[in-house]
């Protein structure tokens, strides 16, 4: 009945649920509003729609891959289970004390983020493991029993167990879990040595608490979703996209739901990585700009850059430190409060500031005519001619230029002595500069030079701003793929089965222990492979080995990729060489005479994704015929230009247009600056390069 070549990708985002069905080389997609009270409703409805488009029955679907923002939202909105934390005596307040820092230096009225669990829901046990993994204070069975009684009478649904140094020795955590499980069947339990076996108690405890907090809810949601699909005749297993850019089984997802956080954006990065592979690009900057935020990710050698910790639920202008850290394998993305709805104001220095406050979808930018009177990025785009008032979102919203002008004038123009047009130019330049600066700082942190990069842009607002961003960053080539509006869901279909296992074991190269390293890597490989096997019983599984290394005394490690040969037969000299090579790439020089230490080890087991079919680059064919002309302000040359307007769906492979131009489609408009030329490639990508 079911056909393995028919695959369904489903992405639940904050506003929209995207569903993409792929049948061979055909793609069918739909966008529905997310149904918060029963998220599965929109999924089933969307599935029916794409099946109807494709002319198939849902029962023919061979595989479903799902990513969702539900886990993230539950953390942000604090809608989790009644959860208790059990931790080591003396460390009750780790998740509340954070790093003890203030993330904003000059705000006397700073409010710190509340921990997920208030203090009375955090319990302690007298026990202690040392930094060498030895038992300093043994677990007291009677105390555990008494605590189980308290947990029971308080009626907790879920328990997180996070004990000191458990990443080295998990015996106490597993004993407490087993004891609770025996006494309280049905209690949901998460232990930190399984959820996030990494050193640094604040990150690990917070991660296990987050996992426990959302586990009952996600488990029931995933169970319900499976049942709904079965009702529709979809009997094949459902898989989940995880934050690291791979897919896992529904059972693993239910056990470690915290790994689903940020799975949607991860899909976007995988989508961009796939385009990179098709075009044979080793250095890509993915740029995703929507209504409220922009996300930037470095993709090297067709692989998105990953990290072992990130922050969710930032409470203060996207500031580092204002959210909560989650230490899980994750695609490393920079998020900036810059989107189509981001609002502008004038600050005390009479400078235009944009975001992170956003007009959202209600009332939306002033030009939506729904009562918004603050100028948003979209208002500036409209006034500068980048958007066509009569053809926005396929003509579904009539934009009001007069409203946009009024908002720009009253908020920016009057106090700065600027005409409306210049105010719009200033607003757009500031938001583009903000994004460019974030990209530059991110590149510096990673020792990269963006001049060697190609940008791949998607998301509703990205095509309007990507061209200018490339000019600012000195990036010569920009690709805007087809299907960019449902990029994350398409990305799900391009992701491999994968699971990354990691562990903290401290080791200095001066005390290099071959046997220990072999064992760590072998254990991690077995653990990660076992997870992947639950998804794919037969396929070949590849392992990538990493050691997080630093000079002894430094605070941040860099991930060093270790070959399979080195993982099986490690030697200190090769490890040092690998580390120094990467260190020099990042920071310009090695430091002679310093000992090097390894803190975290990881193995990523992954199936191979079907090779991307290379795109044969088209040479310039016909000049595209313009459907009209439009006045568009081009900041690169600081003047208003006569740009030709071209319809994207009328472009043939090889047809081209020289900037200044606007390539329009239902969902968005691609702006081609005067400095660039755009050509349509055979896969529908618009390929924009520096002219001449």
């Amino acid at each position: 009945m079911s056909d393995p070549s028919i695959r369904l990708g489903v992405d639940i985002g904050g506003t929209f649920t995207d569903v993409v069905l792929e049948m061979g080389s055909n793609q069918y997609s739909t966008k529905l509003l997310t149904t918060y009270t029963a998220p599965d409703d929109a999924i089933i409805e969307g599935t029916k729609r794409v099946c109807a488009q494709a002319g198939i029955k849902p029962s023919q679907i061979g595989q479903v891959i799902h990513g969702t923002t539900l886990a993230t939202n539950a953390l942000i909105e604090r809608r989790g289970a009644k959860t208790a934390l059990i931790t080591t005596q003396g460390f009750r307040d780790v998740i509340e004390m954070r790093s003890e820092s203030r993330f904003e230096q000059y705000d006397l009225n700073l409010t710190l983020p509340e921990p997920l669990l208030p203090r009375q829901q955090r319990y302690t046990l007298e026990e202690r493991i040392s930094a060498k993994g030895e038992v300093l204070i043994a677990l007291n069975v009677a105390e555990v029993d008494a605590l189980a009684e308290q947990i029971k009478s308080a009626g907790y649904e879920s328990v997180a167990i996070g004990l000191m140094h458990s990443y080295l020795n998990s015996d106490h955590e597993t004993q407490v879990r087993d004891s609770l499980a025996a006494k309280l069947p049905g209690l949901s339990i998460s232990i930190s040595s399984e959820v996030s076996p990494q050193m640094r108690e604040y990150e690990r405890f917070n991660t296990v608490v987050a996992n426990a907090y959302i586990k009952p809810m996600m488990k029931s949601y995933l169970g319900r979703l499976g049942a709904r699909f079965k009702d529709e005749g979809v009997l094949q297993p459902i898989f989940l996209m995880h934050s690291g850019g791979g897919i896992i089984s529904i059972e693993s997802a239910a056990e470690f739901p915290v790994r689903l956080v940020e799975s949607g954006p991860a899909g976007g990065a995988v989508f961009a990585a796939h385009i990179a592979a098709k075009y044979g690009l080793d250095k890509v900057l993915s740029f995703d700009m929507g209504g409220t935020t922009a996300k930037i990710c470095l993709i090297k050698n067709k692989t998105p850059k990953t990290s072992r910790v990130f922050e969710v639920a930032r409470t203060y202008r996207f500031k580092k430190g204002s959210g909560m850290p989650i230490s899980i394998p994750v695609i490393d993305m920079v998020e900036i409060g810059a989107g189509g709805g981001s609002l502008a104001h004038v600050d005390a220095m009479r400078q235009i500031r944009v975001g992170p406050e956003s007009a959202g979808s209600e009332p939306g930018p002033a030009c939506y005519g729904r009562g918004g009177d603050q100028p948003a990025v979209t208002d500036a785009d409209l006034v500068l001619g980048k958007l066509d008032a009569d053809n926005f979102a396929g003509g579904s919203i009539q934009l009001q230029t007069a409203n946009a002008e009024a908002a720009l004038k009253s908020v920016l123009g009057e106090s700065l002595g600027m005409d409306v047009h210049t105010a719009a130019y200033g607003l757009a330049e500031v938001v583009d500069e903000n994004m460019a600066n974030a990209a530059r700082v991110h590149a510096v942190e990673n020792g990269e030079d963006l001049a060697e990069y190609t940008m791949i842009a998607f998301g509703g607002a990205a095509p309007l701003h990507a061209g200018r961003l490339c000019e600012k960053l000195g990036v010569d080539r920009l690709l805007i793929p087809a299907g960019a509006g449902v990029g994350s869901a398409i990305g799900f279909l391009r992701a491999p089965f994968s699971f990354e296992a990691n562990r903290s074991v401290y080791m200095k190269l001066s005390a290099f222990n071959t046997k220990v390293i072999k064992n760590i890597f072998a254990d991690l490989e077995a653990e990660a492979t076992a997870f992947v096997r639950t998804c794919d019983a037969t396929g070949e599984i590849f392992a990538e080995f990493k050691a997080y290394m630093r000079y002894a005394g430094q605070g941040e490690e860099i991930p060093i990729i270790v070959g399979a040969e080195q993982a099986a037969h490690p030697d200190a000299a090769s490890f040092l060489q690998l580390f120094e090579t990467d260190y020099i790439n990042l920071f310009g020089r090695a430091v002679d005479g310093m000992d090097v230490e390894i803190t975290v080890w990881s193995v990523n087991a992954t199936t191979r994704v079907e090779n991307a079919i290379a795109v044969n680059l088209s040479s310039k064919g016909e000049r595209a015929s313009a459907s009209g002309k439009r006045k568009i302000f081009d900041p690169g040359v600081s003047e208003t230009t006569d740009a030709c307007v071209v319809l994207r769906d009328q472009l043939q492979t090889g047809s081209w247009v020289a900037g200044p131009a606007a390539i329009t489609e239902d969902e968005t408009t691609i702006i081609v600056p005067s400095s660039r030329t755009a050509i349509r490639q055979s896969d529908g990508c618009i390929d924009i390069t520096t002219t001449g």
Partner: protein, 569 residues
């Protein structure tokens, strides 16, 4: 139209310069070896015009570099001389009076040349792990005992690093690889800034920074003066007494708000201490200025023009204007207390704005571990130095509680206990909030914290304390009560000193209770819901709930019941 477009490009360039200094700072944080750079953000980076006027500065963890950085490039220009400033030169100093306040801070300045002409300077500062002498502590009697002193000089002459200097440094410090590594890291960080600066000049077709400098400084000056001139013209004085090293220290502040400027003077403040807690004026200026800016013009970025209207003065050889050869290594202990003293005066002019007093000084300590000497130590016993950064509670605000275990004014980050325990044979047995330490008030002071520190089997250690508020806890405002004082004890309860090196034998532990912030407003006016919440969370005990906030036994019992049911109040 063109003028307007010019204004837009200037805005973009200003944003770019701020990004340049952030990139500089990031590069340093990731490459520096020093714990305090990484964990406490004890670094800074800035970009300057050819006159040495600071145009932009990275916002990092410590306000202590604010004015010091702003002024130091001027000293470099004066000492080196324009005629000797050549392309690819790099300059360096750790002069506490012309740099940032103690020998551990290395300041590196790099001239930026474009098309053969000097267009500006990049500067950065970081705290290195060691600078020789007695090591990091308050115990020196003069600057000569505090380590190697590097006057303003060339680190590299036209690209050639001075190997004699490197040799001298290597021979004088305990961790030569790390320290020299940090010198190079500072030089590289300026190089990153220089490249970015030149990229920007090319993009905007500039040949010099004069236009953008004027734009930044004019707008900043105007915005700052607007804020100052909106304040009442008034004078007020304030004071605060703190522990000091051997004798209590009085910090005396008088403020005078005038047209276009604020005068802040420390006349009446105690004289120098014999030990290294004295403060060079640049560092006092930084904290006084930081305090005033937070209250008056928080969002105006630091640069030469936004700092200029804050005129900070102090009589020579008071503890806040120590002159050579006074020892100054731990100048932060007094420096971190300056904002509370300034607020004591400012509150009289601007009521309802500034917080009550808090813990102030970071609760840092260093543990020097070694194999036990009283009996035969095990063979695997080792030596190690472990420095930790910790925070007490901050003071309650006019409309908000204080922040628990969160420093003000410093922006410290603590190190994870698990990471600390990997740096040496130390065990942190406890690190958690200290109930009842936040001063009672309509808004409660932030809680301090408990810590308990020992060594693993077979080790003993020296405990270097750097605490204050043992005898002088944070005082409340507007009827708010004091926060709890610092307590330092041995395991058996024997009191220890708040400052200085003390021996702790094998098997013994140090028990620490760090101070809480003070309360704001009358506790009787505290919202009942918040009192119940504090009790449920254990921020306050039932005794305090009854005594300070007037809860009845019934209310206390009902909270206890809800806690036993695991309810979040």
């Amino acid at each position: 139209m063109t003028d307007q477009i010019h204004a837009v490009s200037h805005q973009v360039m200003w944003n770019r310069l701020i990004s340049v200094v952030e990139e500089q700072a990031q590069a340093l944080i990731r490459t520096a070896f020093s714990t305090s750079v990484r964990e406490a953000g004890d670094l800074s980076a800035g970009v300057y015009d050819t006159k040495g006027q600071m145009l932009a500065q990275a916002v990092t963890g410590t306000p202590g570099h604010v004015n010091a950085m702003a002024e130091s490039v001027g000293h470099f220009i004066r000492r080196i001389g324009y005629e000797n400033i050549l392309e690819k030169d790099i300059y360096v100093t750790n002069d506490p009076w012309e740099g940032t306040g103690h020998l551990h801070d290395i300041t590196v300045v790099t001239p930026s040349f474009y098309q053969g002409s000097l267009v500006g300077f990049l500067a950065c500062t970081a705290h290195v792990v060691d600078i020789g002498g007695r090591g990091f502590g308050a115990d020196a009697n003069s600057i000569y005992e505090e380590g190697l002193y590097i006057p303003i000089m060339k680190f590299a002459k036209q690209g050639e690093v001075d190997q004699t200097l490197i040799h001298l440094i290597r021979s004088n410090v305990r961790e030569p690889d790390q320290v020299v590594g940090d010198f190079y890291a500072l030089a590289t960080c300026n190089e990153v800034g220089h490249q970015r600066l030149i990229d920007m000049m090319k993009e905007f077709h500039l040949t010099d920074l004069n236009g953008i400098a004027n734009f930044i400084l004019e707008n900043s000056r105007r915005a700052t003066l607007e804020r100052i001139n909106a304040l009442p013209r008034a004078q007020a004085s304030g004071s605060m007494r703190i522990d000091g090293y051997s004798t209590p220290v009085d910090i005396q502040v008088s403020l005078d708000i005038q047209q276009d400027r604020i005068l802040c003077d420390f006349d009446g403040t105690s004289g120098l201490d014999k030990k290294g807690i004295n403060v060079p004026l640049v560092y006092s200026k930084a904290y006084a200025c930081y305090a005033l800016k937070c209250a008056i013009a928080p969002e105006i970025p630091n640069n030469a023009a936004s700092l200029a209207p804050f005129e900070i003065t102090a009589p020579e050889n008071t503890i806040v204007n120590a002159l050579p050869p006074a020892p100054v290594a731990l100048r932060h202990v007094i420096g971190h207390m300056i904002p509370d003293a300034v607020y004591n005066a400012l509150d009289k002019i601007l009521p309802d704005t500034v917080p009550a007093e808090g813990a102030g000084t970071l609760c840092n300590f260093q543990v020097s571990l070694r194999p036990r000497t009283d009996v035969q130590a095990p063979e695997d016993a080792v030596r190690a130095e472990v420095l930790t950064f910790n925070s007490g509670g901050s003071g309650a605000r006019p409309r908000l509680d204080g922040m628990s275990a969160t420093a003000f004014p410093s922006g410290v980050m603590t190190m994870p206990v698990e990471a600390t325990e990997h740096t040496g044979p130390v065990i942190i047995w406890r690190k958690e909030l200290r109930p009842d330490s936040g001063g009672a008030g309509k808004y409660r002071g932030g809680l301090g914290q408990y810590m308990e520190v020992g060594a693993t089997d077979g080790h003993e250690f020296d405990f270097s304390a750097m605490f204050d508020r043992v005898d002088h806890p944070a005082r409340g405002r507007q009827g708010g009560k004091s926060g709890a004082a610092t307590v330092v004890q041995r395991a058996d309860g024997t009191p220890m000193k708040g400052k200085g090196k003390q021996f702790v034998g094998a098997g013994d532990r140090v028990k620490l209770a760090f101070p809480g912030g003070a309360g704001y407003g009358d506790p009787a006016d505290r919202n009942k819901e918040l009192v119940l919440q504090d009790l449920a969370r254990g921020y306050i005990s039932s005794e305090v709930a009854k005594k300070d906030y007037g809860l009845t036994d019934t209310e206390v019992d009902s909270v206890a019941k809800s806690v036993s049911l695991g309810e979040a109040i």
